[in-house]
Symmetry: C2
Subunit: 195 residues, 2 copies
DNA sequence: ATCGTTTATTGAACTAGTTTAAGGGTTTTG
DNA sequence: CAAAACCCTTAAACTAGTTCAATAAACGAT
């Protein structure tokens, strides 16, 4: 059952009683999304916070020259939202698209506020989750400054082996901030060595 | 008075009663730091969370080849800590050094936990702060992927005009993830145009 | 003031990664 | 199943940013 995934995710971050867990879960609703379907587009206001239970999403920006840059992938057990747009209910700078048939548990902005009031412990839960997210983003920035494209490519394959196999090289390139052609070169160069 | 800066910072993120503010402030202690002094070194455990009231700090990593990479600067009104090391009390990957004679309000890990218990609203406060931090780190990553070094340089000058004037070009270069020499070239190229 | 150290600038040679273009392969869709 | 659309690879030409080295300028400690 999908809610169990969500519960397990919550318990990774803080301890919660069964009552608290049930109250929290109560606010989430499952939603199915087709492959290729956008659940948010640049310019829209993000009215949900989602937890992926199946499939995979791609979170990206498109710059002025029309280049798509993938910020991250969200597969099972990941959170997906435009955090800035969701918290301040302003226009989104990101697109969110399902890249596989997917399912998510969603909560609306108003329900999220109700949830914080009904279950104060949820503040702690999301505080801890957000702090861990800060760590992850900082680490990624450091990697971009200290590692070469080739190192970052193999780091990605090693860190996300399952996701790597479900996406195209073009998507990996976009995530790493390099071109598809350069990923091809890296792969060719390392063909012999079983990297 | 320094605590007023801290209070004002808290109130930017959520509403708090005077009682709550006073309880929170009570846990913070002011500390003075000399120019050049490290308040944290790679490998140490970060036992404090600091709020800068005067001066400026540099938060950096040193990679295997001995290159220092500056992750961010923290001047007045910024938070300074090794967030990963502080929350999980593990060995720090970052150095934190005062680059001017500075002052900060610090809270220890144990006092921070006490604070969360005494003032439950603090969970909300730091939840909101952390979420905003996530937004900022995401945006910076996107800028690194979509803007050239030159664009990032001028974006930095424009976004942090006061800090820009207090640090060296070498430090800006390190923050931007480029070389000092390339910053020189960018500056030379743009000398005429009053950029 | 002065010595030593760190920083800024410049230029030449270099390289990691891009661009453009073309051909072949694989999905997706009707 | 065919057409369209997208993806992957390759190669040649290019460019943004680096490296190295040398000199001048600014800063900090005594």
């Amino acid at each position: 059952m999908s809610f169990n995934l969500l519960k397990a995710n919550f318990l990774k971050h803080t301890s919660l009683t069964d009552d608290e867990l049930n109250s929290i879960n109560h606010y989430y609703e499952e939603r199915q999304v087709d492959k290729g379907e956008y659940i948010l587009r640049q310019g829209d206001i993000c009215r949900f916070e989602g937890f992926v239970t199946k499939g995979c999403f791609e979170i990206s920006t498109t710059d002025s020259q029309g280049n798509e840059r993938i910020l991250y992938f969200a597969a099972q057990d990941w959170w997906v939202m435009e955090i800035d747009s969701f918290i301040s209910q302003t226009s989104s700078e990101l697109d969110i698209k399902a890249i596989e048939p997917s399912r998510l548990l969603v909560i609306t902005k108003t329900d999220k506020e109700k949830l914080y009031q009904e279950v104060p412990k949820a503040e702690r839960l999301f505080r801890v989750m957000s702090q861990r997210a800060v760590v992850a983003w900082q680490r990624r920035l450091i990697r971009n400054h200290t590692m070469t494209a080739e190192e970052r490519y193999f780091h990605f394959l090693k860190t996300y082996p399952e996701i790597s196999q479900r996406i195209t090289n073009k998507q990996i390139a976009s995530y790493l901030g390099i071109t598809q052609e350069f990923v091809s070169k890296i792969r060719k160069k390392n063909l012999s060595r079983g990297k």
